[in-house]
Symmetry: C2
Subunit: 390 residues, 2 copies
C-alpha cells in the first residue's frame, strides 16, 4: 500500500497538459488561459474625464473665475477643437479631454447660465482626468495559466481580445461496473441498487472543468467490460467505478490489463477508498475507483480533480487544505490517512458521527473532509485541524 | 441617497421566486431544488455485507471454528437459500446477506480449502453488515431549497429520483449603452472603447445560475434604447449598463420611464457605483448599472447576484461577508460605504493601492472586496475587517 501523496505523484505521471484551443470571449469564463495574451490597445485610449463637469486650463482654476463654454465632449464624440484661455468645454464621464485642457471642474462646483460658466466652489487640486493608458497599454500581458474569472473576462474584453487561447477541456469517460446497478429511472430488481457514483462524479468533474461522457453500465463479464472500454475511445481519462477490489467478480483489472494497460499501482493507505487502480491505455489515463459511493466521491476530490487540473495546465494542481478549529473532540486515527466527512459551521468543524463509506446521506450533509494523518492522536475541541472544503 | 442595505431591500421587492421546472438528473447539478423530494426506496434495500468474506451465524463465530461453504452471494446476485448451522456463504462487498446469517467474517480472518472454511483469526464483534435502510428509507426527504451539489446529485440518484424539480433559471438581458462602445473584435474609432462590462457580467451572472442574453449595444438615442428594450422582451431581469448617471446623454431613465417603468430609486451611498436605478416594467425587473467597469462589476456582486438568488428561491440571498486580518494599514473612509478592491493572501488582506473605478486591471488582480462602513476610521495592520470573496 502507498500513501495518498505517492499515489498522486504516480497519477500525475499518467497525464500531461492538453493542447490549447481558441474559444470566443463569451465562452472563455471558467476556462484555463493557455498562453499569455497582450492588450492590443491602451485603456483609456485618450486622457478621459472621470467626472461630469467642464474641461479647462488648470492655470485658470480659481473660485469665482468665469469661462465661456465653447463646446462639448461626450463619450464617443470628442470636442474637436482646442480649449483656449478663458474657455471651457462641457465634458461627461469617460469622454476625451480636449486639447488645451488639463483640468475638469466637476459640475457641482459650477454655475452655468447660457454660455457663461462660473466656478462657484473651491474645486481642489484633483484634476479628475484619467491619463491615457492608466488601466493598461498596448502589450500589457495577462499571464497564463489562470482560470478565467468574470473579472478576467471583462479585462480581456477591454483589451479587445475577442478570441481566447484556452486549454482543451479534458474528456472523461465514466464507466460504472456491476451486475447490481441500474440507471436512475429504471426499476431495480430486489438485489439491485441505483448507479449513483456516475452522476455524482459527473457533476463534480464538470464543475472542475471536464467534459464528461457517461457510458453504459458495464456488467460483471469480460465482454461487457470490453464493450465499455471500447466506447471510451477518444477520452483523455477513463474512470471505472467498482470492480477494482479483490473479489472474484472484480474484473476491471483483468480486462484492462488484457487491453494492454500498464498498471501503476493498486492500493492506497487511506480511508475511505482503499482499493484504487491506475495506469495508461495508449494515450489514455485510466483510474479505477472503488464502488462504495462515498469512497468514489472522496477519491474524486483527492485524485481525479488534481489530475484534471494538471491536464488543464493549472500550476497548483492541488487545492490547498484549509484550517479550522474542532467544535467537538475526535478519537484517535488508525494506520491509514482518513478523510472524515465533516460539517464546518460558525463554531468550527464537526466530524459526522457515522463514517461508513456507504452513506451518501452523510456525505450530502457534509461540507468538508477533515484530514487525519495516520496514527493522529485523539484531539479535543478547539484543536486546529486541516480540511478540504467540498 | 440610500444605503446599500436599503437598496437591496427595494431590489428584492422587484423580484419573486420563479416557477419550478423539471430537469433530468444529469442536468440538475448547480440548480436549486424547488420542492422537497422523497426517496422511493430503502438504501441499502437489503442487509448488505460491508466487506468481502463469509456470511454465517454469529452464535457460531469463534477462532478455529469450521464451516461448509454452501454458496455465494455477489452484488446483484444473492444466495437464494438459507444459511444453516455449520454453514457459510461466500459474500462480497455490497451483496445481500443471506437468510439465516447475521455475521460476516472478513476473508483475511479465514482459511478456505475447497468447501471447508476455517476462522483462523479472532474476527472481533463487528458484524460487517449494513442493515437495510441505514443510508435512507422510503420517504426520507431532501429538503428544498438547496443548491444541488455533486453529493446531492449522487444521493438523488441513489434514491432513484431521475427527474428533479428545480427553479427555472432567471433570464437576464444585458444592454450596454453608449456611443463610445464597440464589441470585442471590432475596430474602435479614436473616441471609442470596447464593451467590457457585458462580458464580465455575463460570466458572473451565469456562474450565479442565470441564463444571460447579451443584447446589441444601445446607442445614446431614444430609438436605439427603445429597440434594445424591445429585444429584452421575455427576460426576468433587464440590466442596462451606463447611461444611468446625470449627464444629458444618459437616456436610460427617460426611455424606461416612457415605457412605463416605475422607478424605485436612483442613487446609493456607496463607492464604487453611486448612480444606480431600478424599477419594474410589467413582469420584468429592471436595474440600471453605472457604466464604469469596476462599478458595474461590484454592483453585480452586491445587487444582481442577491436578486438572482432570490429569484431562484435561495433562502440566504446574501452571501455572508467573511472576516480577515489586514496585512497593511488602511486610511479612513468617507461618508459612503466603500467596497475596496483587495487581495487576500496567507498573511491577510491588502487593499489595492489605486481604487479608481475605471481600472479593470486592478479588479482582475483582486480576489476580495474589503467592506468599509461610512466614516470607518483608519485601521492598522492586524485589525479584523469584513470582505466579500470575488
Amino acid at each position: 500500500m502507498i500513501t495518498v501523496e505517492d499515489a498522486r505523484a504516480l497519477l500525475f505521471d499518467l497525464v500531461s497538459p492538453l493542447n490549447a484551443e481558441t474559444v470566443p470571449l463569451a465562452e472563455a469564463a471558467g476556462r484555463v488561459l493557455a498562453q499569455n495574451v497582450s492588450a492590443t490597445r491602451d485603456q483609456p485610449p485618450f486622457a478621459a474625464s472621470s467626472m461630469d463637469g467642464y474641461a479647462l486650463k488648470s492655470a485658470e482654476v480659481e473660485q469665482h473665475a468665469m469661462f465661456k463654454v465653447v463646446g462639448e465632449s461626450a463619450a464617443g464624440r470628442r470636442f474637436e477643437g482646442t480649449v483656449g484661455p478663458g474657455q471651457a468645454v462641457r465634458i461627461f464621464t469617460g469622454a476625451p479631454v480636449p486639447d488645451g485642457a488639463d483640468f475638469v471642474v466637476i459640475q457641482e462646483d459650477t454655475d452655468r447660465r447660457g454660455d457663461l460658466l462660473t466656478i462657484t466652489d473651491d474645486p481642489g487640486s484633483k484634476t479628475n482626468i484619467r491619463p491615457a493608458g492608466i488601466d493598461f497599454t498596448v502589450g500589457t500581458k495577462i499571464t497564463a495559466p489562470r482560470i478565467l474569472r468574470p473579472e478576467d473576462v471583462a479585462l480581456l474584453a477591454a483589451m479587445n481580445i475577442a478570441v481566447v487561447p484556452v486549454r482543451r477541456k479534458p474528456v472523461v469517460a465514466l464507466i460504472s461496473t456491476g451486475d447490481e446497478l441500474v440507471m436512475p429511472g429504471e426499476t431495480p430488481g430486489p438485489d439491485q441498487i441505483i448507479a449513483s457514483n456516475t452522476f455524482g462524479l459527473k457533476a463534480m468533474l464538470e464543475n472542475a472543468g471536464a467534459h464528461v461522457r457517461v457510458l453504459p453500465i458495464a456488467r460483471d463479464t469480460v465482454s461487457s467490460l470490453g464493450t465499455a472500454f471500447g466506447l471510451a475511445d477518444g477520452a483523455d481519462l477513463v474512470v471505472t467505478i467498482g470492480g477494482a477490489s479483490v473479489g472474484e467478480y472484480d474484473l476491471v483489472a483483468d480486462v484492462s490489463q488484457n487491453l494492454g494497460m500498464e498498471r501503476s499501482f493498486y492500493k492506497i493507505r487511506m480511508r475511505p477508498g482503499k482499493p484504487l487502480m491506475a495506469g495508461r491505455l495508449g494515450d489514455t489515463a485510466m483510474v479505477g475507483l472503488p464502488g462504495n459511493p462515498v469512497s468514489a466521491m472522496v477519491c474524486g476530490y483527492l485524485f481525479l480533480i488534481p489530475m484534471l487540473r494538471r491536464m488543464m495546465g493549472i500550476e497548483q494542481a492541488l487545492n490547498p487544505f484549509q484550517r479550522a478549529k474542532l467544535a467537538e473532540p475526535i478519537g484517535k486515527n488508525g494506520p491509514r490517512e482518513h478523510y472524515m466527512r465533516a460539517v464546518l459551521s460558525d463554531d468550527g468543524l464537526r466530524a459526522c458521527s457515522d463514517q461508513d463509506s456507504s452513506l451518501l446521506s452523510v456525505l450530502a450533509k457534509a461540507n468538508a473532509l477533515l484530514v487525519r494523518e495516520p496514527h493522529d492522536p485523539a484531539r479535543p475541541a478547539g484543536d486546529q485541524v486541516q480540511y478540504l472544503p467540498i
